[in-house]
């Protein structure tokens, strides 16, 4: 035992403020808070729909309150950040072999972005006609 051990002082609550890489990491993790809250709201909207036209119309009206708009704007930014961080690491998660080689990473990422665009368009049209 050394008598005077070196103790690195790292704050357990604010350690991620030290550099940009950590800040990007913690922002990506925090995206889950917004996505979770948003999904809880979407789950409750299914209840409202089941409760009848009055409950549903009140829910839809509530969407245009300033609080809801600010929350959804923030949640949209975080959800987009989550999606990009998720798709950017897909080559690490899925290594696809083609013959003797692996499919190049940028190709896998690009394929995900294209599919993301298609799915997003479908959702926009779907909600648009609803």
């Amino acid at each position: 035992m050394s008598r005077n051990p070196y103790v690195r002082t790292v704050s357990p609550t604010t350690w991620y403020m030290r550099n940009g890489r950590y800040i990007r990491y913690i922002l990506r993790e925090v995206s889950s808070l917004f996505i979770g809250l948003y999904m809880a709201g979407l789950a409750m909207s299914l209840m409202r729909l089941a409760q009848g036209p009055k409950a549903w119309d009140a829910y839809v009206d509530g969407l245009s309150s300033p609080v809801a708009l600010v929350f959804h704007a923030l949640a949209f930014v975080f959800a987009t950040y989550h999606a990009m961080s998720w798709f950017n690491v897909t080559p690490k998660a899925m290594r696809i072999r083609r013959g003797d080689d692996y499919v190049p990473g940028p190709l896998i990422v690009r394929a995900h972005y294209i599919l993301w665009g298609v799915v997003s368009l479908v959702i926009l049209v779907f909600v648009g006609v609803l």
Partner: protein, 115 residues
């Protein structure tokens, strides 16, 4: 061999992460921003159409899959993130995270089956 529930937890986390990456930004943009800003017109999200379309069985299934998997994804990530913020009482955090994901999943399920 030691048994672990990690593959299940992680598998659901990854599934939810993927499905939310594809769907959630557009969902928020469409019904959280464009509808209230009036882009889709005055009668967007009308009760009759929402009931008919979301109550249509295949659509109900897709909506439920997106909601429940995304809730699980978020719950798991929030649990891990609490550790990053210095909250070390993992057991309570886990119960709160997975517990609320379960409660809201049940709400979605109950709502969807009653439409």
């Amino acid at each position: 061999m030691a048994k672990s529930n990690k593959p299940i937890v992680w598998g659901l986390f990854a599934a939810g992460g993927t499905i939310s990456a594809f769907c959630v930004p557009a969902l928020i943009l469409a019904h959280g921003l464009l509808v209230p800003l009036g882009v889709f017109g005055e009668n967007a999200l009308s009760y009759e159409r929402a009931k008919a379309v979301i109550g249509f069985f295949p659509v109900t299934l897709v909506v439920l899959a997106v909601v429940i998997l995304t809730l699980w994804h978020a719950a798991h990530r929030i649990r891990i993130t609490m550790h990053d913020f210095g909250i070390r009482n993992d057991q309570i955090v886990a119960i709160l995270c997975y517990g609320s994901a379960t409660v809201f999943s049940m709400a979605a399920l109950m709502g969807a089956t009653a439409i």
